[in-house]
């Protein structure tokens, strides 16, 4: 494998981590959705690049699915929801941006330390891909716990899921990659449909998850 192939793979995976960090400090709904769309574009480029260097054409299908669904359809659908609900002003965060960013950096460092140590024997491309993927996953988790708004939780979950796809495609020759990405896309579709169908706004008059807590059976 020549070194520039390698470098581009790293650049794309690293770009994904950077965009995950960028997602953390978005305080406007539309900004959040735009960064997420970019996240998906970079993911699909990374997957396509893996398909190219591994000589695995089925990865192009995965890349295409990611591009269509995650970079176009879902951000548009979420944008419509945001406009309809009139929540495009600000995002409430549980913790401030500063501490969240610090926690995010700590998570990236943690995943680098853990994965590079654990995969000392694996091939270098896969091991650094995995380290990046774990960072994206952990940042997605962080985003889900640091936001109270249902739409931004969905975005956090989808960025987490992008990290999964990055890990799956980085593992060379992994079977069922296409199937798994399809299964995940179904999951995502469910979330979006869920936001639509459950009509959280209609039922609760707010999409702030903290308000939903009031309905817990224990406090009846």
């Amino acid at each position: 494998m020549s070194s520039h192939l390698f470098d581009i793979a790293h650049m794309l995976a690293g770009g994904l981590v950077l965009l995950s960090l960028a997602l953390l400090y978005q305080d406007r709904m539309f900004g959040l959705l735009n960064v997420f769309a970019l996240h998906a574009v970079v993911l699909s480029a990374s997957v396509a690049w893996q398909g190219h260097i591994q000589g695995a054409p089925h990865l192009y299908i995965t890349a295409l699915i990611a591009l269509l669904l995650k970079a176009v359809i879902i951000p548009l659908a979420l944008r419509r929801i945001v406009v309809r609900l009139g929540i495009h002003r600000t995002i409430e965060t549980v913790v401030g941006i500063g501490p969240t960013m610090l926690a995010g950096m700590a998570l990236v460092a943690l995943s680098m330390v853990v994965m590079l140590k654990a995969t000392a024997t694996a091939d270098p491309l896969a091991r650094e891909d995995l380290a990046f993927a774990l960072s994206v996953v952990l940042l997605g988790l962080l985003m889900m716990v640091s936001r109270r708004n249902a739409v931004s939780q969905v975005v956090g979950f989808m960025s987490l899921e992008n990290g999964m796809i990055l890990a799956a495609t980085g593992a060379k020759g992994m079977p069922l990659v296409v199937e798994i990405s399809v299964a995940f896309s179904v999951l995502v579709a469910f979330i979006v449909i869920g936001v639509f169908l459950f009509r959280i706004r209609e039922r609760f008059d707010t999409v702030d998850v903290a308000a939903l807590d009031a309905f817990r059976g224990e406090r009846r």
Binding site: L134, A150, M164, A167, G217
Partner: protein, 486 residues
């Protein structure tokens, strides 16, 4: 070839998948309560028969499906409880339709989802591919999410959303663990399909990179542990149990938690087969014990009867995880027995609670009093179920709990003290609430309720029977599985 295999073009392993999948498609199209409820029961019975035929003769493993000593226990248990729950569901759902809590539109959806859930759970159990197993557990999660939210009330939607988010994070982490296992296996088994086939993985696990397996297990433990309902990842479980239809609570507690535990056990075996990897036991013991003690305390503060029994499920799943974490032939045997009996008892309790909540029109413990007077059969059924789940002799759960405690005393007395403490705390809470609900002056409606008592008492009879006498072949079977688990 079995008697079923002779008549059908596919073997019994595929039958436990094809029957529910076909039934789900059919039920999605069929309107009308009478027909679909009966078809649901019939399909569940056919699945159970197919699973039982696996006991007589096992088809050869393929690259995707296989049956061995371990998963057959889970398959038979899942299809049995699936069948009895479908019988209970027929009368339960009939009542929900009458009072208008469930509309006919959702009924079709409900039955189709019930069979899809059965399909997904059976697929997760017989999958010979760790990727396929993961996909099946994901499908099972999604179907239960949809069923939990089926009543469309504030509480149901909130519970479904919480379950959805936590469950999705859980299965996402499990997928990451699965990918890491593949990475560990690839240098040994080569690229592609082979490195995800369970039978190949376990045979060659000794050569895998131990560091990768260690990290993988942490992710799998967190991921599938969320689905098992282990503290501190249990937050979805009580809400999902309390707000969904009661047949779903019964299936969740009785089966889906077991399926997630099964996935965890598989990976535990994989780590045990690699001498250089960490021992997975201590992690499971810690989380199990934590869940047990935590849930024991939480039981005291419950005001909703279904929520209370959901916490009791967390407690018992903690105990079972603890037993498997301790390992060794005796603890594994006890864990397996406890798991089977807990499934039977807990689903029986939910059968009783479902009808009780319908009779009284509420799930609040404070509004349910004197059940043994107002509804003697249901009341005493619940008393028997709670006595069983609390672990009183001579019922079956006493024996399995006794075995777990005594085997722990021999090897780690300190842990055993904590274990007994947790069990006693839970015992106290269950007895307290049961005496409130079952005895005293009855409140609320005393009108008789149309209930199906057969599933309830069939389960309780099995649990009581197991406490008095365990058939020799069953003991030998469970012992061989316990040895397999290491």
């Amino acid at each position: 070839m079995t008697f079923i295999g002779l008549q059908l073009p596919f073997d019994a392993t595929s039958a436990v998948l094809i029957v529910p999948a076909g039934a789900a498609a059919l039920l999605a199209l069929l309107p009308g309560y009478w027909l679909s409820a009966r078809l649901n029961v019939l399909a569940s019975l056919a699945t159970l028969l197919a699973a039982l035929s696996l006991l007589i003769e096992r088809p050869a493993p393929s690259a995707y499906l296989f049956v061995d000593d371990l998963n057959i226990v889970f398959v038979v248990l899942a299809t049995f409880v699936g069948f009895t729950t479908s019988v209970f569901s027929a009368s339960y759902i009939g009542h929900e339709l009458e009072i208008g809590k469930l509309t006919p539109r959702y009924l079709r959806f409900y039955h189709a989802m019930y069979q899809t859930l059965m399909f997904a759970m059976n697929l997760a159990l017989v999958a010979n591919n760790i990727g396929l197993m993961w996909v099946a557990i994901e499908i099972a999660t999604l179907t239960t999410v949809l069923m939990v939210g089926i009543y469309r009330t504030h509480e149901a939607l909130e519970a479904a959303w919480k379950y959805f988010i936590l469950g999705s994070v859980g299965i996402a982490l499990a997928l990451f663990g699965t990918i890491l296992v593949y990475m560990a296996a690839r240098p040994v088994l080569g690229e592609g399909q082979d490195a995800m086939v369970w039978t190949a993985l376990i045979a060659r696990a000794g050569g895998f990179a131990p560091e990768l397996l260690n990290v993988a297990f942490v992710f799998l433990m967190l991921g599938y542990g969320t689905k098992v309902g282990l503290a501190p990842l249990h937050a979805w479980l009580p809400d999902a149990h309390a707000e969904g239809p009661t047949p779903i609570s019964a299936v969740l507690s009785g089966l889906l938690l077991n399926v997630a535990l099964y996935a965890l056990l598989r990976f535990k075996m994989l780590l045990a087969a690699n001498p250089a990897a960490i021992a997975p036991g201590p992690l499971m013991v810690t989380m199990g014990l934590l869940s047990l003690i935590f849930a024991g305390f939480m039981l005291y503060r419950r005001r909703d009867i279904k929520r209370m029994f959901a916490y009791s499920s967390i407690e018992h799943m903690g105990l079972i995880t603890f037993a498997f974490g301790m390992g060794g032939p005796l603890a594994n045997f006890a864990g397996l027995l406890h798991m089977s009996l807990h499934s039977l008892t807990k689903s029986a309790i939910f059968f009783a609670v479902g009808h009780i909540a319908q009779a009284k029109g509420t799930q609040r413990i404070s509004e349910i009093r004197g059940l043994t007077e107002s509804h003697p059969v249901l009341g005493w059924g619940l008393v028997l179920g709670v006595v069983a789940i609390a672990g009183l002799p001579p019922l079956g759960l006493f024996m399995s709990e006794f075995l777990i405690v005594s085997s722990t005393f021999v090897r780690a007395p300190l842990l055993a003290i904590l274990l007994v403490l947790g069990l006693l705390i839970a015992f106290g809470a269950l007895m307290l609430r049961m005496s409130e609900v079952a005895f005293g002056a009855p409140t609320g409606s005393t009108a008789p309720v149309k209930a199906s008592y057969v599933p309830l008492f069939a389960h309780l009879a099995l649990v009581a029977g197991a406490g008095v006498y365990l058939p020799g072949p069953l003991v030998a079977w469970f012992q061989s599985v316990a040895r397999l688990l290491g």
